[in-house]
């Protein structure tokens, strides 16, 4: 079976649920992508930038202290060591070169925390595109340093003041801009979300994570891992790790969603708590109310704070190829500290969800071989963690 099929479906998930004008935009992206995918020149150019500019291949690091502490053998796929500090650059470079092949002059993107925005602004500066980044007003206030980073890189950050003023609204606004300016503009979507062909394109560009990891673990351990663990917001680092292991049925895949304040409260656990629906162009699990209105998500990790999820993950869930667990804000901070203290590696709060889940996994997976995607570094989150620490201390004193 081909995943996705020609209509962009992973089983019953995916598709192209978009206004008629966007259908046209998508057809162009799809046509050029399929052509470039086969092109040796395109591949060579992308490989060049991934290696010489972004810093691939990334290390697969045996986390000995963490392994001893948890009683499992844990390897970390170090996407945090990439230029700009997260896996987002893999996709931004790929789609940047795609936009060049399409002859576009301008790139737009949505961003929540600013990580994808920074990656896109970086690539636009490198490849010479005009760059406009849509960001919710609320996120702009929370992530002022990343806003400044994007500006330093020459991008314009456009505040979005509609709806909930967060990532999903930034996404809507990027689509609205795209239909208006499609002739010279490419929309560089940041996760394996949205209408076909985006889930396919982003997965393909992120699959470099899993391809490298597979070769590296075979070299180091002479066998495949028992478990792969990765955090899931939209799900691009997870699908990038999982996909090259899809056919290795013995390798168990675990995606970790953000339980936020808890599964009965505000969270971003779309696969665990959502219902199937159509949101931002794709049929997938969605956090929604009984009327089909999209709910606001919550996670302490800005990159997981989204009420939708990539359709391929919905397919993995329903076909039981992967299982999806959750980690609360509080547990994620414990994971953040655990890795920082044991290994001297400060993980992004998103990746901290995957790390924190290892504690739960260690109870049933003693001595097993586990490979975790460390999707980003945590410098950007130090302020959030410090604030959380302060409010926790105040509570204790009371």
């Amino acid at each position: 079976m081909k995943l996705p099929d020609n209509r962009g479906y992973f089983g019953e998930f995916g598709g192209k649920f978009v206004p008629e004008t966007i259908s046209y935009c998508l057809e162009e992206v799809e046509r050029v992508y399929h052509k470039q995918k086969k092109s040796k020149v395109f591949k060579k150019e992308l490989d060049f930038y991934l290696k010489e500019y972004a810093g691939r291949p990334t290390l697969l690091y045996y986390a000995e202290n963490l392994s001893k502490y948890l009683g499992m053998k844990v390897y970390l796929k170090r996407e945090d060591l990439l230029h700009t500090g997260a896996h987002k650059i893999n996709n931004a470079l790929g789609q940047g070169l795609l936009a060049k092949a399409m002859g576009k002059k301008r790139i737009i993107a949505e961003t929540g925390a600013g990580q994808h925005g920074v990656a896109v602004a970086t690539v636009c500066s490198l490849l010479g595109f005009k760059c406009d980044i849509f960001m919710g007003q609320e996120d702009i206030e929370r992530q002022s340093m990343n806003v400044f980073r994007m500006k330093v890189l020459g991008a314009k950050v456009i505040p979005v003041t509609t709806g909930s003023c967060t990532l999903k609204d930034a996404c809507n606004e990027a689509f609205r801009d795209w239909v208006t300016n499609v002739s010279d503009t490419h929309y560089l979507l940041g996760s394996c979300l949205g209408p076909h062909p985006y889930p396919l394109i982003v997965r393909d560009f992120q699959s470099v994570i899993g391809k490298e990891a597979r070769v590296q673990i075979l070299k180091k351990e002479r066998r495949l891992p028992d478990y792969l663990v990765a955090c899931v917001g939209g799900g691009s680092n997870a699908i990038g790790l999982f996909y090259p292991f899809y056919k290795d049925k013995k390798v168990k895949l675990i995606g970790v969603e953000a339980a936020g304040f808890g599964l009965q409260s505000y969270n971003a656990a779309t696969l665990v708590k959502g219902k199937i629906g159509v949101f931002q162009g794709t049929m997938s699990y969605v956090l929604q109310d009984s009327q089909g209105q999209i709910k606001n998500a919550h996670s302490i990790a800005p990159g997981l704070d989204y009420p939708g999820v990539g359709p391929e993950h919905s397919f993995y869930k329903d076909t039981k190829r992967a299982v999806y667990g959750t980690v609360t804000d509080k547990e994620a901070i414990e994971g953040f500290k655990m890795l920082s203290e044991l290994e001297g590696i400060i993980p992004a709060l998103e990746s901290s969800h995957a790390i924190a889940y290892l504690r739960k996994l260690s109870k049933k997976a003693k001595n097993r071989l586990v490979l975790v995607c460390l999707s980003g570094r945590g410098d950007k989150d130090l302020d959030i963690v410090r604030q959380a620490q302060i409010s926790a201390d105040t509570k204790k004193r009371r």
Partner: protein, 262 residues
């Protein structure tokens, strides 16, 4: 009344359709009924009622803000049907619904079309359901004899136009611009060219929407199409005037003026 009957009636009189769009539940749930009746009295030929959605991808700020208000007031699909069932006797002109797909999907397709029929609503258009994804939906609509209206845009390739024309019933909604809803200026000759091409491919009426907000635009665009859909202009008028005295009277006057009858 059904769309087909309405367009035949207009054709006999040598007139074009004036389709008025309003989001349900704006400025509040109760006001929709009165607004619908006022639109009818002012001579609107068809009323398009929008189902509010939290993430209206194809809409500009005017309609976005109105739907946010409607959702905050608690507007639901069931309320629309309740209101429309009550209006069934007094509304003589066709009513159609406009929605994004997810609210309908969650309401249930069968249940949705069943309730439409009961409320005397004969047509629906879904913004984010392109013809390729519409197979099941079309089947259910046909079962309940509901007209499905699809969109054609300035960038829709010729082959696709034929596919869309085949799937449409009632009329074809021509989106005047590559962009979102909200006031615009037009290049009439290019618009006319596109409409002429489209009309060669279909026997259905072709109505033009998105961006139309002046009396002149209504007049000129009606002259080379079968009708116009006016949305944002009416919504912003409602937003600005709903709390004033004689609001409905003012609204009627505004519609008459847009139609060129006032």
């Amino acid at each position: 009344m059904r769309l087909k009957e309405k367009f035949n009636q207009l054709k006999k009189k040598g007139k074009k359709a004036f389709i008025a769009y309003i989001p349900f539940g704006f400025p509040d749930i109760k006001s929709t009924k009165g607004i619908c009746l006022a639109l009818q009295e002012a001579g609107a030929d068809i009323i398009e009622v929008g189902i509010p959605f939290s993430d209206p991808l194809a809409d500009g700020p005017i309609i976005q803000q109105a739907t946010t208000v409607a959702l905050n007031k608690g507007a639901t699909i069931s309320m629309i049907f309740e209101a429309m069932e009550k209006l069934k006797k007094s509304l003589k002109i066709p009513v159609m619904l406009m929605s994004y797909y997810n609210p309908i999907l969650q309401f249930g397709r069968e249940r949705f079309f069943g309730r439409m029929k009961k409320a005397g609503i004969g047509a629906v258009t879904i913004v984010d359901l392109p013809v390729e994804e519409s197979l099941e939906y079309k089947k259910t609509a046909e079962k309940f004899d509901i007209d499905t209206i699809f969109f054609v845009t300035p960038v829709t390739p010729s082959k696709r136009i034929s596919k869309i024309a085949k799937a449409s019933r009632g009329f074809i909604y021509y989106v005047s611009v590559t962009g979102i809803t909200g006031p615009r200026d037009f290049n009439y000759s290019s618009l006319k060219k596109h409409i002429d091409i489209l009309k060669k491919k279909t026997s259905l009426p072709v109505c033009v929407g998105f961006g139309i907000h002046t009396k002149k635009q209504v007049k000129v665009i009606s002259s080379f199409s079968d009708g116009v859909i006016v949305g944002s202009e009416i919504v912003s008028f409602i937003a600005a005037n709903h709390s004033k005295n004689d609001f409905l009277k003012k609204l009627k006057k505004q519609i008459l003026s847009l139609k060129g009858d006032g």
